[in-house]
Symmetry: D2
Subunit: 142 residues, 4 copies
């Protein structure tokens, strides 16, 4: 039997990356500390953007700061030190000012965690601004 991650619906904008759990990311329970899932999700967004030809560094250096407005994580199975995880990051929806992502974190084809988040765009003074055109109003963007 071949094992594989689920195949997303046609047209879905997504990307898969591998992340190995670092020792420093574990805690006294011997598990990946739950706050680090947010760091992994951030890496997933950044690598998805890179795979589409942009770097988040450029976006930010152009004055578009993408900040989290909301994030949710559902933890189903623990990740452990040295596990090699696969993180799938999916663009759920983009509007003129917001980007919604979903996340699926796997280890050996088992789903460990799911997440969702909403990014908002601000300027250097912290005021809301429209997303750059190459990110806004697309099904397939960040």
């Amino acid at each position: 039997m071949t094992q594989a991650l689920p195949v997303p619906a046609p047209g879905t904008v997504f990307g898969d990356i591998e992340i190995r759990v670092r020792y420093a990311e574990t805690d006294r329970m011997g598990l990946l500390h739950h706050a680090n899932y947010l760091v992994y999700f951030e890496q997933g967004r950044i690598e998805l953007l890179r795979s589409m030809g942009r770097t988040y560094k450029d976006v930010e250096d152009e004055g578009y700061l993408l900040v989290l407005a909301r994030i949710e994580v559902k933890y189903k199975r623990p990740a452990r030190y040295d596990d090699v995880l696969t993180l799938r990051t999916i663009v759920e929806r983009t509007t003129g000012v917001r980007i919604e992502h979903r996340y699926e974190l796997y280890c050996e084809y088992k789903l460990l965690a799911e997440g969702s988040s909403t990014l908002a765009c601000i300027d250097r003074e912290g005021n809301p601004q429209a997303l750059p055109t190459y990110l806004a109003n697309r099904t397939a963007s960040l």
Copy 2:
């Protein structure tokens, strides 16, 4: 005009702690990195438990591991380096196996973020187990 945090409903189990944003917790935007809110919330739960006469260390050493099943954060205003924040941690509900918390993070009486989480109890092998009696089925527990 006196400024103060909102007063919770009578009987609410809650605790307030102060946390100063560390330099290492900021990011390239100059703001508190969003993953660190989860670290603060954890500290809020732990200090609330301590204020009720228990330490989480004891709970864990007795073999009850409290792991996150779900967490959500809504980010409203950014926190900055060196800000002194007030974190309110509230017990929303406890059952025989789960504890639900809410979180409110303030800076100078302004609400920066809100959160909610569900803790589940597992044993050292990672299997679900009932909460210790002093934590379970109470409105006013962890």
Copy 3:
């Protein structure tokens, strides 16, 4: 028998702060992860500066970035989750461009770790610059 931390030599510029080890700062061994000692030392420097009437935030906002040129830590005894540690931060020497600190980390009057570091001053472009006068060439400064 009264227990106390050692008394520094007269004229020594130093400050003591208390830090409780957070759950997220532990690792799979159940101990405070060694990288977090650097975060604590940074907090020690910042609070020492504050006790002298300046905030590092102000220093940095005036364009003086203090970056580490060197740091060393000697780990003697482990720190554990929920331990309340006392960190002593000592100004060892300042020149026109550098500040040297020493660190002593205690738990219940036992020495857990010692450290030393050298800070250099740079501008926003990363070029070396002289320390602000209120920090430079003093035995008793940062």
Copy 4:
């Protein structure tokens, strides 16, 4: 002109890994926070061990905990968000109870930082113990 990292002396036990600087690892200055160098060095040691056919997870699960006795870092040039760094980890010396490493961190063939550390071996109770034979008394071990 071809650029390359320096070639170590014949017989040197070393390994090179690539690490991309994460957003969460930067700080208010926009640079890789200095504490994270220790996390990278740890990853370097772990991957060097893996390249020799062992995992640190196995070593630890067999009851040999390798803890830092000392670490030093010399920071020469800053690393920035999204930089792809090359970390070289070198076994300097092993005795029956200790392992000494050196570290060189590069970005685009420029040396950003150098480090050195000493690991000691303890058991689960925190008492010193001899290294496992496959790690001890070898020039070419961890």
